[in-house]
Symmetry: D3
Subunit: 317 residues, 6 copies
Amino acid sequence: MTKETADIGRMFGAAEAVETFMGFPACPDIGAAQAEIAILGAPCASPYRSVGPYCAGAPTAIRAGIAGYATSRSHQDFDFGGPLLGDTDARVVDCGDLPYDPEDSPGNRARIGRAVATLLERAVRPVVIGGDDSIPIPVLQAYEGHAPLTVVQIDAHIDWRDEVQGERFGLSSTMRRASEMGWVERIIQVGARAIGSARPGDYQDALDWGVKFVTARDLDAHGLEPVLDLVPRGAEVFFTLDCDGLDPSIMPAVIGPAPGGLGYWQAVTLLHGLAAKARIAGFDIVEFMPARDVQGLAALTAARLVCNVIGLMARQG
Amino acid sequence: MTKETADIGRMFGAAEAVETFMGFPACPDIGAAQAEIAILGAPCASPYRSVGPYCAGAPTAIRAGIAGYATSRSHQDFDFGGPLLGDTDARVVDCGDLPYDPEDSPGNRARIGRAVATLLERAVRPVVIGGDDSIPIPVLQAYEGHAPLTVVQIDAHIDWRDEVQGERFGLSSTMRRASEMGWVERIIQVGARAIGSARPGDYQDALDWGVKFVTARDLDAHGLEPVLDLVPRGAEVFFTLDCDGLDPSIMPAVIGPAPGGLGYWQAVTLLHGLAAKARIAGFDIVEFMPARDVQGLAALTAARLVCNVIGLMARQG
Amino acid sequence: MTKETADIGRMFGAAEAVETFMGFPACPDIGAAQAEIAILGAPCASPYRSVGPYCAGAPTAIRAGIAGYATSRSHQDFDFGGPLLGDTDARVVDCGDLPYDPEDSPGNRARIGRAVATLLERAVRPVVIGGDDSIPIPVLQAYEGHAPLTVVQIDAHIDWRDEVQGERFGLSSTMRRASEMGWVERIIQVGARAIGSARPGDYQDALDWGVKFVTARDLDAHGLEPVLDLVPRGAEVFFTLDCDGLDPSIMPAVIGPAPGGLGYWQAVTLLHGLAAKARIAGFDIVEFMPARDVQGLAALTAARLVCNVIGLMARQG
Amino acid sequence: MTKETADIGRMFGAAEAVETFMGFPACPDIGAAQAEIAILGAPCASPYRSVGPYCAGAPTAIRAGIAGYATSRSHQDFDFGGPLLGDTDARVVDCGDLPYDPEDSPGNRARIGRAVATLLERAVRPVVIGGDDSIPIPVLQAYEGHAPLTVVQIDAHIDWRDEVQGERFGLSSTMRRASEMGWVERIIQVGARAIGSARPGDYQDALDWGVKFVTARDLDAHGLEPVLDLVPRGAEVFFTLDCDGLDPSIMPAVIGPAPGGLGYWQAVTLLHGLAAKARIAGFDIVEFMPARDVQGLAALTAARLVCNVIGLMARQG
Amino acid sequence: MTKETADIGRMFGAAEAVETFMGFPACPDIGAAQAEIAILGAPCASPYRSVGPYCAGAPTAIRAGIAGYATSRSHQDFDFGGPLLGDTDARVVDCGDLPYDPEDSPGNRARIGRAVATLLERAVRPVVIGGDDSIPIPVLQAYEGHAPLTVVQIDAHIDWRDEVQGERFGLSSTMRRASEMGWVERIIQVGARAIGSARPGDYQDALDWGVKFVTARDLDAHGLEPVLDLVPRGAEVFFTLDCDGLDPSIMPAVIGPAPGGLGYWQAVTLLHGLAAKARIAGFDIVEFMPARDVQGLAALTAARLVCNVIGLMARQG
Amino acid sequence: MTKETADIGRMFGAAEAVETFMGFPACPDIGAAQAEIAILGAPCASPYRSVGPYCAGAPTAIRAGIAGYATSRSHQDFDFGGPLLGDTDARVVDCGDLPYDPEDSPGNRARIGRAVATLLERAVRPVVIGGDDSIPIPVLQAYEGHAPLTVVQIDAHIDWRDEVQGERFGLSSTMRRASEMGWVERIIQVGARAIGSARPGDYQDALDWGVKFVTARDLDAHGLEPVLDLVPRGAEVFFTLDCDGLDPSIMPAVIGPAPGGLGYWQAVTLLHGLAAKARIAGFDIVEFMPARDVQGLAALTAARLVCNVIGLMARQG
């Protein structure tokens, strides 16, 4: 019997605690968030009805994936050499999940955008748990009016289609949409491999815009340093992690797997490296598909990546 | 590679067809439905954040579970001795999925209720694919003003808690809420077994109200006839099927499994038996949890039950 | 993440509750048991090193399989039409697991025999959770000096080898050993099918002794009544359930599966039928192999059978 | 580590025994078979390249599925009340697998046909393990010149398409091709359910020919007797078992699963019932797809069905 | 429901497209191939009846594993920095699968040898998808009369037994047979680890012949450069990839797994490195066992390795 | 059908060989061991009833995981460049499994301690297969009176709690207990990551004691050399391997998984590196949980690590 079944069993009798990520305080009213960091679930933004729902349970699954450690938050976290939040007094809240409408992707995007904008207005850094890979579009949209952004993406695919059968806001167009936002000054895309939606012309458009690509093959050959070198010291970085950027051996729970993805330490080290020279202005993790998890290991892996982000953000004050 | 991966792969290039159940025409605008029967996905209504999302992908999974047969809709369906819709001219549409807000269960219920009410006003019979087992509350609410209802429920649990820690609209209170609706004149609950949320007092309340229970043990001992005998000829029947009412050997994809559930033919035969003496005024199937499916067999089973409902409704005109 | 992982996670921080079956009080000192019914884990008795350990985790797995319901023990149990213990004041304790020595099967048997004998001396009815199918040998041995026993066995195999390569106390000899105990006056074996260890001569020996066999084919053809007819009213019945007697579709977690086993209701109904005309003097469930469980469903099924036994014993006073 | 891995491991060192079904003697030269019964593997006949190979490993998987019992062949078989071959002196051989050419279905059919014809000429009854469901076409073809056949089929689908995109020998046309053979005098099809390849016209053609259908729904409602009543005493019966005729809960290892199939005892009892009034002139089992087996249980189930056929044939002399 | 089920479902109605690898044109008549590169399925060559069939479905499974990308062949392939075939005008065809006879391994070898020889005569480079690891014997045999070959093998095992119980053409003897071919001038074996069929004397024989071994431990310690250094610039390289050479975490779908195998990028980088200094005269991938795949990821991995080979061959003209 | 099923099947008929690790001679009487190396199974020591039994079957599962290679022990082992035991005349025995009492952890510890002490008195090096991670406590206790020990631990967790709810000998206190043994002069802990039971104060205590930590992040950044540098040449090393120290992608079969663990070659290379400069005085492998293995690959991985230890010990004389 899995934990969630047990919880349900208990709830039948007691309707006990609604879970938050790692037991951080719940903050359902985004507009009232008093925190440095806020976790926000975005089950779905996708305009493709047959795609998005596969990821809709992801925020719940990722929260559940690490729930057993919620009472150990003050323990030593060996990825940090101290507790998760260190000796900071950072406040972290979990705003729960946003509503979504499978038939109304503009509405989904608007809701996501408003929620993130609200957090940013309150100087709360967003940690968004998707949902499909069209979610970064409204998330990044919300940074309008804030400092110019460097977007660092981990993804097996580059997502630079202008449109797919008329649809301009799907998961194949994410980074092109980002490139059109005036406040995105720099894009670094890490982990591309194999074949995806992009045609050579799409790739060329990205190069012409100025995107810096570090493919999975590059990464295997040259390591992470070249990626970090692309980020100017002091930059405002938004880090978007499509789970399929990771290797399927550690992250099978994705819609579009491709062999040869990043290892766990590559992802973590990249995060820590970025935090050492830049400010992590926001983060999202997308494309997690619970139905393909194997024994909950992928959810745990995703959750630990979120923990690393939170620990780094906390240390940045 | 699963079908959905292939579809995504193809979509990266072509964004091809949004899938509907068995390929029936899409009808995203519920208020414009011109049909006798409408499929409606309701990903979630639950007030319990840690529960509902496990079922949010269910409508998609159930549609995908039978997608390979969409082009064979006119073939012989041996459960009917003719094509699925027979020689009727019934029109069936798929209205897609309703929006939901994980943090706003009153809103979820309102949306579900409005959608079903709209269908009923247009004389369209609803086939609702949940979503968690609090969904029948707003679905049944929408029948206000229509003919008195006989509710037939298949479920491992009776869902008669008045409230659970103050929450009155959760999945443990579904049938009690139904009993409070003036237009519900009769409730028959089939398949209860083992221990659930109900305490002896809850069960007694249900008996006092007049609920007729046919437990799973009763069913094993006496078969389906006693169930059918409880339904008056000509009744308006709403059939609500909690997937955990079925046996886990054929339906492992549920939140709260219990051994000893209904077999496939018990469910199908009950449906056909009801249709022979009463009118199927509506149907929902809830608590399907895609992450626990084994090789897609549970989704296929759920989809075939939906097919049987549609075929029966079509024949009723 | 599964429940047990969560528990471990919590324990790293808090070493919380040692679990007992359904939350019944722990009673590690068997000699001090003040109860009508005692659960006793017997991880292993087997003289075959390569067999027994596959089942050693079974008591833990079966307790874990139903742990989510421990706080709901007073709820309505629909298999009984009332709470699990009804309105009885039966006391049920969980004595935890016995020690075992993989290299010392006589010692294992001695320990099991002593533990059961101690319970019987104290008028506590034993509910033994194995462990492999050689466990009933010492369990039945402990009934020496008590009322003559009718042994009812559910098993795919008849276990009537006199010895296998010199070993007389292995899982292929269980029922022959039982037949040699003067206080076993009647043996009824239900569910035999396919090929097992028994040769025709072994089967003939069993017939000559007076064993009544109801094979799985008989059961399919004639139902449970003939089995119940074999038990005299008022008999003292020991019920031994080898999990492989059940069908692999509901009980894949066994060492030696065979298609065509008993369904869940056949097992439950047999238990209830026996309790209606005889006294359940003891029970064991053996051969559960956790590594072959699928999503914990087999553990839940085993646990619910144990619940039924406890509820019936409680009602017998 | 699974058995086959262990065998491979050993073979790396010792190339030990090539396995036969239940350890029966190997007889690679079909033309020299001295036996009453011969097992024959037919990996594939299919004209559909994307279908057939999914079943090509089936004969090996089914032999492996019961290999642990090869040394117990003389033990009591409780499905027979005696050893598998009883007190007969029936000789059973395993002729191994036929060659197949994925690109040459006429050649595949010719090879299968010749092999079966050779066995029949030598008065050896064939037990054919497929392979896809186009295999019965050449198998039945080989009965030309022998006694008129009653074909009893268990299948979820009726396979009565005259052609599919020009192909007349695919798995959707099996029974229509059978109906065209002069020596097939009677066809009984059991287990049809849901939607398959057949259109209403195909079904009508079958009815017009004289096929007797007992659908899965009929079977659930009325049991096996009506099927047996359709077979005249003394008939020569060819029994063809498409694995998808069985329920997916016991037989998930098929290409085209459908809920509501036959249970294990329904299949076994039908076999025994037929053998009691008719002569089992041949048998095939097809559509077993090893990649979808769960823990080898489906292979064991298939193998036990084959055992039952062999035991029945042996008793018929 | 998996893609193949969907396809079958569709085929029941429409018998649509027979699939080829990545949608390349089918060329069933090998003798008429007009192409630079031909894919050829060889389901089995094995003389061991209990081994070979486990891999017989591999060509189908690998084709299916990447079928979703067939329509995206002209997209950017990030492993190449351009489309899969780049700006070459290379023609690639898929010749489908060869026939095989489980009882006739000389015949299987002859068929494979003839097919490859035919391709080579037509200056078509073969990409052979096995089948078991005895397949490279006839494949390499077909290179007689062509330029001297350097054979580069990735494998957990060295396959240098002279015979195993008299059998000289089994999967334990592959590389020794290769060493006896006059046109094989150089053998490099990469990835050996743990224990396999080879005895110390076999290993010594290989060293005496001149084989260069780079064990998995060597590779972990020193990387790929030493392997590439062993290949003279301008060599004609045949690359044979036994899937068990890869690590089980990315390639569980093998008969004889061993921990510590090559990672994905090690395999890809070795291929690209070889292509940079030598000519890839042919390729095979063997020992893929579909029944052990997990969610199709191993098939996708195998298919992407085949894509890399095709892309490299195309670029070599 | 898995190997163990086959064995059971055979045993029903023949009770054949009790298996030992890699077929080494059995030596059930520890006090009579005439060997340089002894394998010893310790199913459980845990004081936590709900934890230990999950690992109780581990020794059996690990022996079974490599059983197919037992007859190939003299073959070339490519991790050694020669047979497993090389040209040494090392004698290796398998002492089978120790008894354990789930309710008596002091007794479990005493038994383990006595067994290891007996081996050490006879100059036999112990290779202990657990069981849970409290097992190293009594194992290390047994080294009292022998040469000062350097303990090298691989583990995701540091196990330095002084007590957890009063329990001082649980799996969260293992290394603190070790630090209190006068004969443990040095502790090196490798692989810590994420959050476990340790609080910052526990970690500080370990640093104060003098523990050298090489976290998983350190290892990723700097490799194994820093670990080896911490071990003085000629040290007596006890190597304790908690399976959760390995990465879940190669070792999912653990109670408390954490992403980012050691790879296979990291573990093997560390072992070989230690053996090159120090004496491997003993070894244990703990926390292997069979129920979470995937296709037996984790058991094979664990078994190969044990093989490497044995080969290294044998070479040290």
